[in-house]
């Protein structure tokens, strides 16, 4: 699964730490999600979508093989 969190953060101009605070996880968790190592729960994905004001499938995208 791909994600565009880094881009979305750049658009909103917030750091990993700020995003982490907004959705109540640790900054390292944001880091593992951004780098694709960890697929977050639906709850967390929806929280991110809310922060960025975008639908979830604009932030997370299926890849071939998923």
């Amino acid at each position: 699964m791909k994600n565009s969190i880094r881009v979305q953060r750049a658009i909103k101009n917030i750091t990993q730490a700020e995003l982490a605070d907004l959705i109540q996880v640790s900054r390292q968790t944001i880091n593992t999600i951004e780098s694709g190592k960890y697929v977050p729960s639906t709850v967390l994905a929806l929280k991110m979508a809310k922060v960025f004001g975008k639908p979830v499938d604009e932030i997370f995208e299926l890849e071939e093989g998923d």
């Binding site: 880094r6 953060r9 990993q16 730490a17 640790s26 390292q28 968790t29 880091n31 729960s41």
Partner: protein
């Protein structure tokens, strides 16, 4: 997602105190024959016979040590981290899975390497293998998790 089995982080200190105190007590009990006087429920019969286990030791000092070590480990294992989020929950479950697997591999190796009383002694210690391996693995995962994020901030 809430994990209802976990207890608050401040209990972790309590767990370590209970564990270390019990380990010290256990060592004294095992190597210095230390017994808390009259700390027992059952007594040897007057004629001294106590079949079938005539070497039975009814003093509860060693039982207290085993209880304390187990309780301490359980408290530490089930304490939350200071910042507990879902990824840490994933690390926790992965570490537990790993600990169960490694523990049984160790047991299988011991099965063919130790015989008789030595094997039984190792089985006694084996009751703590899973929590100990879990703690080592989980804390190593946390250490790596916290370290890898440091350089990546933008």
């Amino acid at each position: 997602m809430k994990n209802s089995l976990l207890i608050p982080n401040r209990n972790k200190v309590v767990g370590w105190v209970v564990l270390l105190a019990s380990v010290v007590l256990g060592c004294f009990c095992l190597y210095n024959e230390f017994r808390i006087p009259d700390f027992q429920i059952y007594r040897l019969p007057n004629n001294g016979e106590d079949s079938p286990f005539s070497f039975a030791d009814y003093n509860l000092t060693n039982e207290l040590a085993i209880f304390g070590v187990t309780l301490g480990l359980l408290i530490i294992v089930f304490s939350k981290e200071k910042i507990e989020d879902e990824y840490i929950g994933v690390l926790r479950l992965k570490s537990l899975q790993w600990a169960v697997l490694v523990s049984y591999i160790v047991l299988l190796i011991i099965n063919f390497s130790f015989y008789g009383i030595a094997f039984l002694m190792i089985l006694v210690y084996n009751i703590w293998t899973i929590p100990i391996i879990f703690l080592i693995r989980f804390n190593y995962s946390l250490y790596r998790f916290r370290k890898e994020g440091v350089s990546d901030e933008k």
